[in-house]
Amino acid sequence: MQLSRDDLIGAYRRMATIRAFEERLHDEIKTGEIAGFTHLYAGQEAVAVGVCDHLTVDDMIVSTHRGHGHCIAKGCDVKGMMQEIYGRAGGLCKGRGGSMHIADLSVGMLGANGIVGGGAPQAVGAAIAARLNGKGRVAIAFSGDGACNQGTTFEAMNMAVVTKVPAIFVFENNHYSEHTGVDYAVGTNKDIASRAEAFGMKAWRANGCDYFETYETMRELLDYVRAGNGPAAIELDTERFYGHFEGDPQRYRGKGELDRIREERDCLKAFRARVGEAKLLDLADLDAVDAEVADLIEAATVEARAAPPPDPETVADDVYIDYV
């Protein structure tokens, strides 16, 4: 199925929004105004957008500590996210969560997660719920190559296969588990998809720096899962443009590595090149999107900086719904 002009512009807008959001955070964090741990998603945009562009609000995702991209791709409010990261009362989670705990259940975003591997079992539960609701909906666990080594992820994959639920395991292999290389930490010959296959589910592999390849592969995968064939997995080969967290000196990187991946593996550059060569869009249209995105991120940042902090009196609110 050919992507329409609106589809293409929308996909580019979502990827560009993630990139601009993360690059702005990278700059703003240096000012000292943003506290805590921030893990940037820049470089991996084609994964989040290529996956979530197939989903409706009734499909659910669980995310990771590197979750800003998943949030934006699933439809979380960008200004609300920025306020959350600034720790403001008007943040998506009222400043209670911060960068690692953004959620918006109204758009099917069940939560970023500060615990590596914490989300995969939750996607199985969400998939149990999705099956009961009976509308062909799915639940997706985004996991990195780090989370693929957690026992929770193994348990979740096996339980999904045993219970035959519509859970999808999206493994984003950005080659680094925090500061340790995937060559060292993933024992199965660097190959994550084969683990999913070993648990008895069908698995796909695609270039996660290519929106079109990711999108088309996910279409095939989702057709398979929505048809009631049980869970599935995909390993997407991608790149992390920044460190594990902001402030990470990245001494583990090879000489010239960052320049090379930004030159050769930038999903936004690849997208522009592809739509330009194929004459699918006028590049001026994408320039216009870039300008709109820049305005949005500027406004989100200015508003977040000026927004009021939470009232200390509310520190123990919202622990329970009803507590005597």
């Binding site: 069940l110 615990i115 998939a127 329970y320 719904i321 507590y323």
Partner: protein
């Protein structure tokens, strides 16, 4: 009104509530049992006999046998709850909380708060706990104090069939996560259970008896042991205010403090080691909030600072006994 055991009250409540609310699902190891065997599903029906007939009635999409994967069991309950269902996850032994702890204390307990109060996570985790059956160090613990310490969780310990029904119904109709503790030595306890709807609010302790001389605060199986001690003491004319907490989170502080203000003497009985225990918590509450009422130091009856042993003689030495409870009351009175 029917007379039944705690076990049967739990089964009956699960049947009634799952019939009432199609969003309730049950998952755990062998909650069905027999899947993948020659005997077929329901060959076991739950090793504690608390899920009999549910699979036949509600089917495999709502009554889900899981692999032995406690993190995934509780994690799936967490995800299903976020997705709008009311999961009941069974941990065959409360000790296995250790295997699944991240999903309980970093996930279920914190979702609502971390996400700014915009979500609910009505997951019920049923934990089979307690010593007394020589199940040794890894299958006998009462880990309620640890979970009581975690904001975001409610912790419930029924000691009678009527409370088993009332508290489980309340757990399944409320919107907060509940850790529902079932003592393995209490499943056979019989009592009257009302027909129809019965809900027991959390945070309302049960005054088992009012005697006026000493306040005895406890929960779980220790309520029964304390009753035995209270019977012995009554023969000597010593009257006990015996408080069954029913829930340790929320805690009925008022019931405890009101009684201590009248008696001036506190004994807490807790089936767990002494450090950072429920006993220590209640003693701190009373000494900080009712200090001037106290006529004697609080007496804490707990197990020793050791794992729970296997041999019958050792296990009996570990668990607080009616004799130890009785002696503690006499010490409180003799101070």
């Amino acid at each position: 009104m029917a007379v039944m055991t705690i076990r049967d009250a739990i089964v009956a409540t699960l049947h009634a509530e799952m019939e009432r609310d199609p969003d309730i699902i049950l998952l755990g190891e062998d909650v069905v049992g027999g899947n993948g065997t020659a005997g077929g599903p329901e060959a076991i029906g739950g090793i504690w006999g608390t899920s009999g007939g549910l699979f036949d009635k509600f089917g495999p999409e709502r009554v889900i046998d899981t692999p032995i994967s406690e993190s995934a069991i509780v994690g799936a309950a967490a995800g299903a709850a976020l997705a709008g269902k009311r999961p009941v996850a069974e941990l065959m032994f409360a000790d296995f909380v250790g295997v699944s702890l991240d999903q309980i204390w970093n996930q279920i307990a914190k979702f609502r708060y971390m996400f700014g109060g915009k979500t609910k996570c009505p997951a019920v985790v049923r934990l089979v706990y307690g010593a007394g059956m020589q199940t040794a160090a890894q299958h006998s613990q009462s880990v309620y104090a640890m979970l009581t310490a975690m904001p975001g969780l409610k912790v419930v310990l029924p000691t009678t069939p009527i409370d088993a029904k009332g508290l489980l119904t309340e757990a399944l109709r409320g919107d907060d996560p509940v850790m529902f503790f079932e003592h393995k030595a209490l499943y056979g306890v019989k009592g009257e259970v009302p027909d129809g709807d019965h809900r027991q609010r959390f945070g309302e302790a049960r005054m088992v008896r009012e005697g006026g001389d000493v306040t005895l605060v406890t929960c779980g199986r220790m309520v029964n042991f304390s009753e035995k001690a209270a019977d012995k003491l009554a023969a000597d004319g010593i009257g006990i205010d015996l408080i069954d907490l029913r829930t340790t989170s929320p805690l009925d502080e008022e019931a405890i403090l009101d009684s201590v203000e009248a008696t001036g003497r506190l004994v807490v009985v807790d089936e767990s080691p002494p450090r950072c225990s429920l006993a220590a918590d209640i003693a701190a509450l009373v000494t900080t909030k009712a200090f001037t009422s106290l006529k004697a130091p609080p007496e804490l009856v707990t197990g020793p600072h050791s794992p729970i042993p296997f041999a019958r003689e050792l296990e009996r030495a570990w668990v607080p006994s009616p004799q130890k409870i009785e002696a503690a009351v006499r010490r409180a009175l003799g101070f």
